[in-house]
Amino acid sequence: ADRNIAPMPANPRLLTALPIPDPAPLGGLVSAAHADEGGGTRFGLGREALPEEVAAWDVDVTPDGTGLPEGSGDVMTGEEVFVEKCAVCHGDFAEGVGNWPKLAGGDGTLDNADPVKTVGSYWPYLSTVWDYVHRSMPFGNAQSLTADEVYAITAYILYSNFLVEDDFVLSRENFTEIEMPNRDGFFVDDRPQTEYAQWRTEPCMENCKDSVEITMRATVLDVTPDDPSGDAPLTETEAAVATPVVETAPDEAEAKAQSASAEEGPADAPDPELIAAGEAVFRQCSACHQVGEGAKNRMGPQLNAIVGREIGGVEDFRYSSAMADMDGTWDHDTLTQFLTDPRGTVPGTKMAFAGVRDQEDVKALIAYLESLE
């Protein structure tokens, strides 16, 4: 990829090089390689990162516990937090729901035909759990957990893997005492020895084998998605179908035109553009909620005809007790309030979602939900 490109000099000079004060060598240990990299030319771009900025972003935790903040959490608290914030995907016992990751179990399966790679069976370092939960979980509401909650969740995941007792308290102090079962299960890439040495040979060109038989066919499994490919030009009909069009029934369009001329328009006049915008906003909801024909409850309840529905009203969905205890119906006001600030509105809701900040987006989202039968 480098051909025909004049290489950039290792230390390109500026037209007017900035005078850079030489930093005092630290401890005098400056290697030769390092001296080369230093170069001496700086561009003077960027600005110094402030300590509080570094503190806000530099939150990684390494296996020796470096980076862990003060705090602690016990298994039982962890269970409560886990059931509320994690179980929708990972199951009450960290066993995993559907295709979502299993966090517990799998002990002794790594050499099986179908290894089950969980925190308990596979992860070599506990720091990885803390770091990942703290930084990236819950899915859809990352970086919302307190340090104590992360300690508690980590303790509960250990408990669900039978690695600690139910009275265990995890803290920064005892963190590195925990040894993960598979800590010695990894080795550094050895392909140069085990593979490259074998395969860097002159390959066979003729009579490389006596016979060739087909031993397996993909069509036996038939797991390939439907492929509409085909090189024939599209017919007019296909082209029309391929272009998504927001249809507006003539009478609706007329109604809209009339109401628009009357005043700004009552809230219940369907606005195709608003609905389309709402459909786009809904994409972030679709991780957990289904809509449309045949919609089923998934992480969250199906949302067909949600406007006007009783709050907590889908019979076979397991709501949080907070949601189940709510009275009333979902209308524009209650939906707006809830979608803007789910957990402020219904403290204890299982919905691990920070909320939609932009009120235009909320309006569009409700218009879209209302358009669903």
Partner: protein, 393 residues
């Protein structure tokens, strides 16, 4: 034969007007090509927010992948990050922790390089046997673009590496601005070698789904390390051992032990046409067999093609000399007699590495690696021109 009315009769397009300029201020492919799109495999992941789709390699030629159909992989969805909101921090064992804006990055001397990006899981579903019927699905977690960006080396020098002391055992940790952050540790010698902090691809801004406005380019190494929406680079004296480099992107061997730090993507190739989604429709006679080859070790120097399942091989024609850590297009211009073929390709790179068979890989690694499957692929082409993904003895 009757004369062709497409020739003898005046066609509407030869008589009336076409689109004026500005009909499409930013053009997209003509509607006849709207099947050349990314596709996903629903059962692979729990949700499309954290998922992957596949480049339609069966329908592309040349080497550059258009951004609009280059595969996507997100761990927490493709975020919208505006240039004014972009910040890149360099901290850790540096002389001066720095924060750059997007504008700052554009003021450093920049370079252009073409590199392939392959997901470590490309062809991963095929470890245990032929599964998916189409080159898009078996080999489509790859794209190849021309990147414009600033060498990471330049930015690290700007922050100053005196504080890091001996660089031989140092690492950088890189993370993105999205909710997954997708942090990865990279040894310092790679960071100072050819890693780019890129903001353009194929001449235009990166697409949102590829990390707009700034992503990391880690040539020849697994795609997961090419952190998108790049926000922080920390110089460290050890790897973080993050989720993406312990529980994921590690290769489980038959005995249950696992390889880690398997960063380099070994030499690999695939015939893209004919293939299951790109059957032969013209019958016997002249036939162009084509495909692509790449290696994380450097340049592709040769690609061999077999039409009999690996009994005999012949060198294919490279469209141009192989380029460092970039896709190479190969052709075998043949005269097909209409008999069935077991079509394979085999890449060889400048280090002499020869793309292995699935049997060779399984002998070392077993069936459960998931990642880094660079085996020789076989398409069974039948006399009617259809092709199927198969495994052969």
């Amino acid at each position: 034969a009757a004369p062709d009315p497409l020739i003898t009769e005046v066609q509407p397009w030869a008589s009336g007007f076409g689109d004026p300029v500005d009909a499409h201020p930013y053009g997209t492919p003509i509607r006849f090509e709207d099947d050349v799109i990314r596709r996903n495999v629903e059962w692979l992941t729990a949700d499309t927010i954290s998922s992957i789709n596949f480049t339609p390699i069966h329908a592309l030629d040349g080497t550059i992948t258009p951004q609009g159909c280059a595969f996507e992989r997100h761990h927490s969805g493709a975020i919208e990050l505006a240039k004014p909101d972009f910040r890149l921090m360099i901290n850790g064992l540096v002389d001066r922790p720095l924060v750059f804006t997007y504008e700052d990055l554009e003021r450093f001397p920049r370079e252009n390089h073409v590199y392939f990006l392959e997901c470590a899981a490309n062809t991963g579903m095929e470890w245990a046997g032929a599964q998916l019927n189409g080159a898009q699905f078996t080999h489509g977690m790859i794209h190849n673009m021309e990147y414009t960006g600033v060498p990471l080396r330049t930015l690290l020098q700007e922050a100053g590496l005196d504080a890091a002391g001996d660089l031989a055992d140092k690492w950088i940790y890189v993370e993105g601005a999205d909710a997954s952050s997708n942090g990865r540790s990279i040894p310092m010698d790679k960071a100072l070698d050819d890693v780019l902090v890129a903001f353009k691809a194929n001449g235009e801004a990166l697409r949102k789904e590829h990390g707009y406005p700034v992503r990391l380019v880690v040539p020849g190494w697994e795609g997961n390390m090419w952190v998108k929406w790049l926000r922080r680079i920390e110089v460290m004296d050890r790897p973080v051992e993050s989720r993406e480099e312990t529980s994921k992107y590690t290769d489980v061997m038959a005995d249950g032990s696992a390889r880690k730090w398997t960063w380099v993507m070994d030499a690999k190739s695939v015939v893209t046409s004919p293939s299951p989604q790109s059957p032969i429709t013209h019958g016997p006679g002249p036939l162009v067999i084509t495909g692509m080859a790449w290696s994380g070790h450097g340049r592709i120097t040769r690609v061999d093609v077999s039409t009999d399942g690996g009994k005999t091989w012949q060198p294919a024609r490279l469209a141009k000399d192989g380029e460092n850590k970039a896709l190479t297009r190969f052709y075998l211009d043949t005269d097909w007699d209409g008999s069935e073929m077991l079509l394979q390709s085999r890449a060889i790179d400048e280090t002499g590495y020869v793309q292995p068979t699935k049997a060779q890989l399984r002998e070392v690694r077993g069936l459960n690696s998931v990642y880094h499957n660079n085996c020789i692929q076989t398409w069974h082409v039948t006399p009617d021109g259809k092709a199927e993904n198969v495994e052969v003895s």
